[in-house]
Symmetry: none
C-alpha cells in the first residue's frame, strides 16, 4: 500500500476503510466490487488503487487494520483477572461492539475473514486473523474447566458457543444497521442460559 493514505484526514481514511470493510464483510472478497465501494464510500474508483495497488492489497489492508485495532482494544479490556468462560467471551464481543461505533462492519469483517476461502487471499487472510485467535485462546486459558458439568466437553462447548455467537451476529447484520447494544444484550441472554446449563451446579 501507499503510506500516504495515513496523511489523509482521519475522517476520509475512515470513510474509505468503512466503505471497503462494509462491502468485503457483506459480500466476501470475490463478490466485493470496487463499484460498490465507490457508491458506499463516495470515493472515486481510481483512488482505491492509488492507495492500495489492487483489490487484494485493499483487502489485506482492511483485514490487517481490523485485527490490529481489535487486538489493541482487547489488550486493554481483557484483564487477566477475568476467569469465567462466558465473561471472557462477553468481554470480547463487548470490545467488538465498541469498535463498531467507529467501524460498524468490523465485527462482521472479523467473521468474514474466518470464513473467507478465495484462493487469491486465503493464505494472507489466515495469517492476519491468527493473532486474534491466539489472543482469544490465551484469554480462555484462564478458565478452570473443572467448573464445567461432567457432561460437558470443552471442545464441544467452544464450538457450540462459537457458532451461536456467529449466528447471533449474522442476524444482527441482517436487517439494516448493526446495533451494538441490542447485540450485546442478546449475547448476554444466551450466555445466562448457557451458564445455567453447562456449569457444574448452575453457576
Amino acid at each position: 500500500m501507499n503510506d500516504k493514505f495515513f496523511d489523509l484526514k482521519k475522517e476520509k481514511q475512515d470513510k474509505m476503510i468503512n466503505g471497503a470493510m462494509q462491502v468485503f464483510a457483506l459480500k466476501g472478497y470475490k463478490l466485493a466490487s470496487t463499484d460498490d465501494m465507490v457508491k458506499v464510500a463516495g470515493v472515486s474508483k481510481g483512488l482505491w488503487f492509488h492507495y492500495f495497488v489492487n483489490k487484494a492489497g485493499l483487502y489485506t489492508f482492511v483485514a490487517d487494520y481490523c485485527v490490529k485495532y481489535l487486538n489493541m482494544e482487547l489488550a486493554v479490556n481483557l484483564s487477566s483477572s477475568k476467569t469465567d468462560y462466558f465473561d471472557i467471551l462477553y468481554t470480547i464481543e463487548e470490545t467488538k461492539a465498541g469498535i463498531s461505533k467507529i467501524y460498524p462492519y468490523a465485527p462482521l469483517m472479523i467473521q468474514a475473514m474466518e470464513d473467507e476461502n478465495d484462493e487469491e487471499i486465503v493464505e494472507v487472510t489466515r495469517s492476519k486473523i491468527e493473532p486474534y485467535l491466539e489472543k482469544v485462546n490465551e484469554a480462555l486459558s484462564a478458565f478452570d474447566e473443572g467448573k464445567l458439568s461432567k457432561h460437558v466437553k470443552r471442545s464441544m462447548l467452544d464450538m457450540t458457543v462459537g457458532y451461536t455467537i456467529k449466528g447471533i451476529r449474522e442476524k444482527a447484520y441482517k436487517n439494516g444497521e448493526f446495533d451494538g447494544e441490542k447485540y450485546l444484550s442478546e449475547i448476554k441472554e444466551y450466555f445466562e442460559m448457557m451458564k445455567n446449563t453447562v456449569y457444574v451446579d448452575g453457576e
Copy 2:
C-alpha cells in the same frame, strides 16, 4: 425449465443435478460458474441452458428438487410418534445423510439456500426453502417444552442447536468427501451433551 429433462436417462439427470448442486452449494449462486459445472458433470455447457434457460433457472430447479426430495423423505422418516426434541432433529439430519448417498451435496445445498442472499434469486430461494422449514417446525411441535429446564428458552435453544448443526456440517464438508456416518456420530455426540444440559433433570 424444459420438462424434457426428465426424459433423459436417470443417470444423466443425476449427474447434472449433482454437478450443479455441488458447485452451487460450495460457492453460492453468484460465484458458481457454468465452467465448473461442465468440468464436474462432464456435460456440455449448451445443455444446461437447453434444459434450464439460464443460471437462475438452474438454481431454482436444483433448489426445488433438493427440498422436494428432502421433504418426501422426511414425510416417511418423521413419524409423529417421535416427540423428543433432539430425536426429531437427529432424524432430520439422518434423512439428509441418507440423501447424501445419492446427492452428496444436498445437505450443504439446503444450508446454502438459507444463507443465499444474491438479489437475483433471494426471493425465489426463500420461497423454495419455506416448505422444509415448515415441516421442521411441524415436527418439532410434537415436543413438550415442559421437558426443558426452567433456565432454557425454547427459541434460544433452537438457535443454539441450529447453528451448532450448521457448524458441524460445514466442518464435515471442509476436507474432501462428506461422510454421512461420521457426520451423524458427531451430531449424536453433541446432542447427548445437550440433552444432559437442557432437559429438566438430565433427561
Copy 3:
C-alpha cells in the same frame, strides 16, 4: 494457448492471426488493443482470450508462428549454393514477400519483434526471434569477404544494408497495402547499386 485453435477452419485461423499480426506489427505490443483486433479481424473480443489466455499469450503465439513459418520457408529457399552477400539477403526478403501473400504483415511483424522492448514480453520475444537471426547469419557465412573492396568493413556493411532494408520496408508499409513485387524491385535496385560500390571491382 488453447490447441483447439488449430481445429478452426484454416480461413478463420488466418483471419485471427492476420488481425493480431497487423495490429501488433503496426502499433507494437503495448499500444496494440484488443478492440483494434476485433475491428480488423471481425472476431469478438472474448474469442481471443478463449484461445490465447491473454494479450501476452497472443503476442507470443503470433511471434512464434511468424518466425517458425519464415524459417521453414527459408530452409527451402536458402540453398547453400548461394554465396553472394546480396543474393542471400535478397532471397531472404523474397521469402518474406512470399509469406506476405498469406500473412501480409509478417515482414513487418518480424521487424517489430526486433524493435520490441516492452518489459512484459521482451525476453520471450528475443528468444523467439533468435532462430531467425541465426539462420540469417548461417546463410551469410557462405559469403567470401574477400570480394569486398578494401575500404568496406563487413560489420559496417551489415549495418548499412540492414537499416536500409528496414527503411525500405517501413516505407512499403506506410501507405496502404504492402506490395511484395514493388518492395522486391526496390530492394533489388538498392542492391544493384551497392554491389557496384562495395565489391572489389564492381562485381
Copy 4:
C-alpha cells in the same frame, strides 16, 4: 501553452524540457506517461498541465522547441561554403551532438518526431519537423551530384545514408547515456567508408 513558462528560472525550464523530451523520445507520444516525467524531472504533475494544458500541448511545445533550437544552431554551423555531401551531413550530426550537451535527448527526439504516427498529433508533428527537413535539403543542394559514381542514384544514397545514421543513433541511445563524441566518431567511420565507395573515384 502558457507563456509564463519562460518566466521560470532557465534551469527549471530546462529540467522540464529535458524531462519531457527524454520520455517522449524514448517511448513515443502515446506511451510517454506523465508519471515518468514527474519522476525524471522532479516536477509535480500539476505543473506540466499548468503550463502546457495537456499532453498534446506539451509534445507540441517540446517538438517545436527542439526543431527551432536545432535550426538556429544549423544556421550558424551550416555555412554555404560546405559542399561535400558527407561533410554537410556530418556537420548536421555534429550540431545535434552539440545540442545534446544541454538537451541530451534532442537528437533522439528529432528522430522520434519523424517516426511518430499517433493520430492525435501526427499532423502537427509533421508540420513542426518540416523546417528542419527543408534546411537539410537546402544545405544538400550545394552538393554537386556529378561527384557521385555513375552507379549511385542520389535519392537512393539519401535513403541509405539516412537510415544508416538512424541506426547508429538508435544504437547510441540503447545502453545508458548518449555519448556525442563516440557517436560522431562512429558516424565519421561510416562516412569514410561511404566516400570511398560512392564517389566517382573514391574521393
